[in-house]
Amino acid sequence: MISNLRGIRAIYQFEMARFGRTFWTSLMLPVITTALYFVVFGSAIGGRMSEVGGVPYGAFIVPGLMMLTMFTESISNASFGIYMPKWTGTIYEMLSAPLSPLETVIAYVGAAATKSVIIGAIIFATAHLFVDVQVAHPLLMVGFMLLMAVTFCLFGFIIGIWAQSFEQLQVIPLLVVYPLTFLGGAFYSLDMLPATWRTVTLFNPVVYLISGFRWTFFGQGDVAIEVSMGAVALFFALCLGIIFWMFRTGYRLKS
């Protein structure tokens, strides 16, 4: 399934060069947003709400903030990466190349995930300027971050193949992902919600992802870590399955 390593590298480098062209914007954006979040949430709200489950509020929002940005960045980068060749027509070359679907996915998703992880790391570093964040399980935290970046990018890749206009490209991140992440406990603990809302929120898949990521930081989350890991694995497998179906049927790639 993987034999054209040079092909993978060509696409990967092409994508990384694309990110490189907007390097400073890509770098500054997460730094500025993180700073803004800390000013608004950390100082304004945090002053009134000093601790969540024994964790200072400023530190508490770091995993959620990382996740929120990584989620939106992954989707927009990965979807754009595959949508553009479709839109300009240059995809003919990829389709005519001796490249397997898996290789194509590895290249595009790998590049987008690399960028997401870099952005996640920048947010993490920026957060340290404002608060003291201790990571209880550093290895798990890195592993979780990588897995999430890849999964979100797979999801973005699907959207990029599915989208037939720039509007469709935007609509899922804006209308679905952002609200779900925001309402998924990025900035609060589910314990703070009234009982009925808490139940409703448990239908939001993003809750499990954020909770798991937060667990790697503080050793506690809204749901058990095993449940979170199961959710991530499920999401990952689902995205991968959809992508392989898309390639096998040529869905919106070939006529």
Binding site: N4, R6, A10, T88, G89, Y92, P98, L99
Partner: protein, 317 residues
């Protein structure tokens, strides 16, 4: 002659329900230049796209140098370079980067010397660091050709390579095609400019409404289907064709100064000697005469026309 591309029973019906290709059988020999001729919408691009893996066929088999193009797609596609009909290029990449990218995409190791030679041959070397969006349309087409050749394919598809292309590029392109052929590269081009096929190709295929209606060695085609016209410059102008010459399908041209006779050069009796004899019998003299072989264009128009007529009567029946 070894076959480098074998297509059998190929068919494509698009999701819209439109059948763009039906039952196409075609064998391309190694090292030849094959021209696929056909009017717009005949299915030329569809055929090429299927062979290159861009469009999925609904029926039939394609084998590239013995490799099934679906099951052994890696081996098959590695051998093929494609210059598509439309100008699909990136915008922000440089010429050098995009051509190197293509080589990598096809799994070939880097070879800066080869890429340099390729860009020089296509007069792109001076522009190697220019962004593609800064280039003119003709230059962009050169870039697309460079991309298609970057992985040293053995089969090159040129889909309407000279549509909307300036004279200079056209000349360069033909030079390049000849150079490639000398190195043993097989070239399949589509066109609806007949002169192009006539000038370039070893063999010609005519496609109309998704069916390959004819495949023939070019000279044989011209000879076989070729009709000749005989033009006689008359000594004295005629106002009408004399009844004595009614047996020949003649036309008067040039204000009655020319008598034109169209005949089948392959026929047992062309009718030319008898015509000349009869003319001298009735005293119609001529100063000069010449014959002209019909071009591929005439043949082509005749074929497609006949095909359309057949289809029309078929529908009416």
């Amino acid at each position: 002659m070894t076959a480098v591309l074998q297509i059998s029973g190929l068919g494509k019906t698009y999701q819209s329900g439109h059948t763009a290709l039906s039952h196409v059988d075609l064998t391309i020999n190694k090292g030849e230049i094959f021209a696929l001729l056909g009017p717009n919408g005949a299915g030329k691009t569809t055929l090429i796209s299927i062979v290159c893996g861009i469009v999925t066929p609904t029926a039939g088999l394609v084998s590239v140098a013995g490799h099934d193009h679906a099951r052994e797609y890696r081996a098959a596609r590695s051998l093929i370079g494609l210059v598509p009909q439309e100008l699909h290029t990136d915008a922000f990449e440089t010429v050098l980067a995009t051509v190197s990218f293509s080589r990598g995409l096809f799994g070939k190791p880097r070879d800066p010397a080869f890429i340099e030679k390729l860009l020089r041959d296509l007069s792109l070397w001076d522009k190697r660091d220019a962004k593609i969006m800064e280039l003119s349309g003709g230059m962009k087409r050169r870039v697309m050709i460079a991309k298609a050749l970057s992985h040293e394919p053995e089969i090159l598809f040129l889909d309407e390579p000279t549509a909307g292309v300036d004279v200079e590029l056209r000349r360069d392109m033909w030079q390049m095609v000849h150079g490639l052929r000398e190195r043993g590269v097989t070239i399949i081009l589509t066109t609806h400019y007949i002169e192009e096929a006539e000038e370039m190709a070893d063999r010609v295929g005519v496609i109309s409404k998704g069916e390959l209606i004819l495949v023939e060695e070019k000279h044989a085609l011209i000879k076989k289907l070729g009709r000749k016209t005989l033009t006689l410059n008359l000594a004295e102008p005629l106002s009408s064709i004399p009844p004595a010459l009614a047996d020949w399908k003649l036309e008067l041209a040039g204000d009655g100064h020319e008598l034109v006779y169209e005949f089948d050069s392959q026929a047992e009796a062309t009718g030319v000697p008898s015509l000349l004899r009869r003319m001298s019998d009735i005293g119609v003299g001529f100063k000069d005469l010449h014959t002209k072989q019909s071009s591929l264009e005439d043949i082509f128009v005749g074929l497609v026309h006949r095909d359309n007529n057949a289809a029309a009567t078929g529908e009416a029946a």
